[in-house]
Symmetry: C2
Subunit: 404 residues, 2 copies
């Protein structure tokens, strides 16, 4: 029997307990032995819980119990979660987590510590919730040189954009609706400003390119600047506005990683990813384009990924090949300065003026447009700086990269 301790009995932690309980028979059959929750660590009391007797408040009980071979960390954040993860790994226990902040900021040291201790540190649930992506990227696509990873990595912002596009709600109203439906937190900044997506694209870039990508080096733009005017112009061009995290291999081997809204053609598979769904698009030099799609958050989807990691470790008897990557290097990571794209631009001014200054541009129309506003998509790919130079002197209301 494999004994597990769960740290943090919040949404994901309680989902992990639920999946381990509800699917215990099929899990035991698949692993070859049963997997049981021995402890749940939480500062709160859960007297009514069926797991009543298993709750502990002192991490050292878990740390010092040699029967516990796998620790599930679903506390979140990078403070106490870091400390407990380090202590669990040092105590020779494998750790499974859904904590994207911890993996993005400390994944390199934690995967190395795990390797050194001969145990596992797995984090399938940290990107894309229940969507299998970490293992497919590191194992199934291992024969490829990865050219690009790109994804809708945050369900909250995708829900808000979907509601703006489909129901014509302004950003603030769509955000409020997301909060009412439990899709956005009371303080939604980490989602709407793109920080959550930034952590996830860093984890994907670490794995895809084998070098640590520091979230602090990754330019991050959220969706607070997107207006319904932009949504309507995009619609007229057969495109949807999506918040993407991207990591693109440059010809010189550097990785261009960033988070920003993009105009995506409706025929692109990512354009069909609506509501709280996430999708990760990977381009490899052998496989071409592949995409992984599903629920990027939520109690049971996230627990599905956590429990799969637990089962993988249990099945391997802890002998699973370690996942880790190389040191980071600020010189390895570049922003979007050199990334050429077509751009959507909306200005205060007349269409003629826009065309005169930019040159080749496909002008766009929308119902309700006023004569003092113009928008278009550049015909040529260029850097943002090149475009801004052309737009010098104009009042730029929106400037959004077009996904090619």
């Amino acid at each position: 029997m494999v004994k597990v301790a769960i740290l943090g009995y919040g949404t994901v932690g309680s989902g992990v307990a639920q999946v381990l309980h509800e699917n215990q028979d099929s899990i035991a059959a698949s692993v070859g032995q049963s997997v049981e929750v021995k402890y749940i660590l939480d500062v709160r009391d859960f007297d009514q819980s069926p797991y009543g007797g298993r709750f502990v408040k002192d991490f050292s009980v878990i740390e010092e119990d040699p029967e516990v071979s796998i620790v599930v960390e679903t506390i979140g954040g990078a403070a106490v979660a870091l400390n407990f993860t380090q202590r669990a790994l040092r105590a020779g226990k494998s750790v499974v987590t859904s904590n994207k902040e911890l993996v993005a900021c400390h994944g390199l040291e934690l995967t190395r510590l795990a390797k050194e201790k001969g145990v596992c540190y797995l984090f399938e649930a940290s990107v894309g919730g229940g969507i299998p992506i970490i293992r497919p990227l590191t194992v199934c696509l291992a024969a490829n040189q990865i050219e690009e990873v790109c994804g809708i990595l945050n369900g909250t912002t995708n829900y808000i954009l979907t509601r703006m596009i489909q129901a014509g709600l302004p950003f603030e109203t769509a955000l409020k609706e997301a909060q009412e439906n439990g899709y956005a937190e009371r303080d939604p900044s980490a989602d709407i400003l793109g920080y959550d997506a930034c952590r996830k694209i860093c984890i994907l870039a670490d794995l895809a390119f084998g070098k640590n990508v520091d979230p602090q080096l990754v330019p991050t733009e959220g969706i607070t600047g997107i207006s319904l005017a932009d949504v309507d112009y995009a619609d007229g061009a057969g495109k949807k506005i999506k918040l993407l995290g991207r990591a693109v291999r440059q010809a010189d081997g550097r990785v261009c990683a960033y988070v920003a809204p993009h105009l995506v053609d409706v025929t692109h598979p990512i354009a069909g990813v609506e509501d709280v769904f996430n999708a990760v698009f990977v381009k490899g030099n052998a496989v071409g384009d592949v995409m992984f799609y599903g629920r990027g958050a939520g109690k049971l989807p996230t627990a599905s990924a956590v429990v799969a990691d637990v089962m993988d470790i249990a099945r391997s008897g802890g002998n699973r090949s370690p996942i880790t990557w190389g040191d980071g290097d600020p010189a390895l990571v570049c922003g979007t300065e050199e990334l050429v794209s077509r751009f959507y631009v909306r200005i205060k001014g007349a269409a003629d003026a826009l065309r005169n200054q930019v040159g080749e541009i496909k002008l766009l129309a929308r119902s309700g447009a006023t004569p003092d506003e113009a928008a278009g998509i550049t015909e040529l790919a260029m850097t943002e700086a090149q475009l801004r130079e052309k737009l010098m002197g104009m009042e730029v209301l929106s400037l959004i990269r077009v996904l090619n």
Copy 2:
């Protein structure tokens, strides 16, 4: 160093050699040692090939060479490929294949033989070409009870349907175009009659439900009966016609597996899968809906999956957890008899007659329709037999299940 032998230097076999060569540095870094092709078995001569000296015509050279630890079988078919696979496994070598016919028809015995011999039999490339699906299904989604697997599993038929839908080409013209582009074989029967998709849904059902599903028990319908009239009516209802392989868990634990064209709503992620792309949709009791998308065939995409399996075995030193499943049982597998759906139906006759006989039906229109033809989608879900009873006495031109 890991030494590999490739059986069959056709499209996939030569792709495997190419990927192992082109990505040799990143492969060696990932595996921890280099992976080298020692032999290529083929009856033909390839004097001009850079692998010239490695070609052999006698399988026993490979079988008897203890240096070869992994055999890649890309011969295809279930005759000589079966014999060589059995001999390789018995000789203590792991085998990796892209051969869906062999896995669908003999996978159970071959995975068991591999397990008995303490080696691996892996087949990621047998379904969906380069799309990671076998490992995600067996490892990443292992915590779930799988409710349904459903997919566009054949690129040839998806290309033909896409051309019928997008360009209005009749079936025969679209098939000819597919043949000219190398997407369909000269004898296209295995694709257009659904047999290829049938093999793949059987492999997915084996893994998803843990019991062997015999392709001979799986009702299989191809796309030869699809007309442009059906495409147009479907379009008018906001739906696309797609050939799907489906395996659905029934309430009593049986598996309903079949291959047939379906009307799929344009908002369903599968509807956006066009041309030769494949996609596999999986519904689990924890994860909900997830989808895997990519190129389902082709030299390098398929080689990407084969080489990933080779690397997985090499990395694990042959100690990878075996993949296998339980015995089959004709009582476990059911056809579509009890599967209730809404249906699209096209008849020779008047719309009033159709409505009178079927009852609640949403009638459909298309440009160019003649008065002696009517089509609609039933409002209620029912079995095919129930619908056919209602249609008794009418000349049914098309009857296609609607994906719910």
